[in-house]
Symmetry: C2
């Protein structure tokens, strides 16, 4: 979880890592949803997005490019074998696995019981989520028990779990910054300085 | 805004209408994002989604099909001329226009000042939003001044503006209901009764 720490102090005091795992990505059909999902992970305070399913360098490039311009820290990587990773995490209890699914338990009742002192992996499914994910997860969490979007679910969950991230301190080393405005677009671009 | 009223009492006591207008839809490129946007509108308490840009009956079919199965009231329609509609609304002050944009003012400071006693149109842009939208809107609102997703922005904004909608009373005439579950999928299907 992103804290208002400088890079120097983070070395000594790293907060537990918050990862978002995208299961079952399909390069053609899911391109934009997956892209929005990773950007949502970054904007709402995750430390990394992990892509699985079909390999897709363009998704990672999009995420890295936004981080390069608008700040981080935020990383992305491809995980060819997400289930063995989750099984290992589950066995070692090295992170809390939170699966977002419309079939799960209401997030407003669940979020406060998720521990904040160890790493969290938020698992976001695609069309076909293996039944094992429901079993292996410490929490199956729904954001409204209605069909809508994994992007919405992730945003509302992270906003609720991480808390507000509007502060200037939330994104470090940004070359571009958007300044809130009543009627227009104000972007400070330090790329050319 | 969806209230826990029966259909009968709603006739006498209709709450102000909450619409979501999707600007600039492109049938191929935006298909799934727009679909998720409309489903998010429904799941988080809007009364209707209005599609503009390229006409796309499949989007309306998706939304109507979910409403048919999971309950409403929720309607969808195509608006070929969104700007004349917004101009007319703005001139007559017949609804509050809220434009979601990453360039706008922070939602947490803005939401509480949006009146709840008249209709609201939430405008969600695509790639190229006409500058006029920024001028014509009563509120330009950002959900985190960072690039992420119009789907995320809509979900977090509506959740904040409408409030929680997990109650059973939120969706009427549902044939299918999802029952929150710790480890599996529980769906009550009354379609075949």
């Amino acid at each position: 979880m992103r804290h208002p720490l400088t890079r120097e102090s983070m070395v000594d005091q790293l907060p537990p890592r918050l990862s978002v795992l995208r299961l079952g990505h399909r390069r053609d059909r899911d391109k934009r949803i997956t892209s929005h999902l990773g950007l949502t992970a970054r904007a709402f305070g995750a430390d990394e997005v992990v892509l699985s399913g079909e390999e897709d360098p363009s998704a990672l490039e999009t995420w890295d490019s936004v981080t390069e311009r608008f700040g981080g820290p935020f990383t992305s990587r491809y995980e060819p074998k997400p289930m063995p990773w989750l099984r290992s995490v589950s066995k070692k209890e090295s992170a809390t696995i939170v699966h977002l699914t419309m079939y799960g338990q209401p997030w407003r009742e669940t979020v406060s019981s998720i521990p904040k002192d160890k790493p969290v992996i938020v698992v976001v499914g695609g069309t076909k989520v293996p039944g094992e994910v429901f079993q292996i997860s410490n929490y199956n969490v729904s954001v409204v028990n209605q069909p809508h979007s994994e992007v919405s679910a992730l945003a509302v969950f992270l906003h609720s779990f991480v808390g507000p991230l509007d502060g200037k301190e939330s994104f470090e080393d940004a070359k571009m910054k958007i300044i809130p405005s009543e009627k227009g677009k104000i972007v400070i671009n330090q790329e050319e300085e």
